[in-house]
């Protein structure tokens, strides 16, 4: 059984929590202009950590 020092923790709004105790979900959103990856960690129903990564698709250029 791993001891406390080796338990993987992750930073959340409630401080460091054991990542194994949390539900990890990913959600992709493609709405045309950009592609987003949303990573969510939940403790029960509470979102304790959420990261968002946006890929900016090529925008329209300024036309002469």
């Amino acid at each position: 059984m791993p001891d406390e020092a080796s338990t993987p923790l992750i930073w959340t709004i409630r401080g460091n929590l054991p990542v194994a105790d949390l539900l990890y979900e990913t959600h992709w959103v493609d709405d045309g202009a950009q592609l987003r990856l949303i990573e969510t960690y939940r403790d029960g129903h509470e979102i304790v950590r959420q990261s968002v990564h946006v890929y900016i698709k090529p925008p329209a250029p300024a036309q002469s």
Binding site: W11, R36, Q50, H53, Y55, I56, P58, P59, A62, S64
Partner: protein
């Protein structure tokens, strides 16, 4: 109120006036250094668009580990041309780490902090919040068809 993606109109005129320097090889400048470009995030309730002329704290996000004014953009490449298009893209993703931004935001403003915080462009993305996490903006490829900033 809403944010709208656009190259700021004032930026287009300022280019012709030499107000912005994205290049480290500009003979018109006394120092071979690029201007500093910053990226600031804005609430979904803000109004930044083509008419935005300069950075303003009005409507900017706030929260844990977010510094007002945003973060500096990595600028390691000079603007280039291909065909009839001039283009430029930040040379790294723009990111904020371990931030909590609880109020929905959906736009980033690039502005020139070396020159009176003059606005460059607004880019929008889906409204979201971040909780004790990371927010990153990954750039498109830096070429004439895909670059973040293109003048055709």
């Amino acid at each position: 109120m809403a944010n709208t993606q656009a190259i700021c109109t004032s930026f287009k005129a300022e280019l012709m006036g030499g107000f912005h320097n994205f290049s480290d090889a500009n003979p018109a400048r006394s120092a071979a250094t690029r201007d500093t470009v910053m990226a600031a995030l804005y609430l979904a309730s803000a109004t930044i668009d083509a008419t935005t002329t300069a950075y303003s704290a009005t409507g900017e996000v706030s929260g844990t580990n977010y510094t007002a004014g945003g973060t500096a953009v990595t600028m390691a490449v000079n603007p280039a041309t291909s065909g009839t298009t001039a283009f430029w893209t930040p040379s790294a993703s723009i990111s904020w780490t371990s931030v909590t931004l609880s109020t929905s935001f959906d736009a980033v403003l690039l502005y020139n902090s070396t020159n009176a915080d003059r606005a460059i462009a607004v880019y929008t993305f889906g409204a979201q919040t971040v909780t004790a996490g990371n927010f990153s903006l990954t750039m498109p490829a830096n070429d004439a068809s895909n670059a973040l900033l293109r003048i055709a």
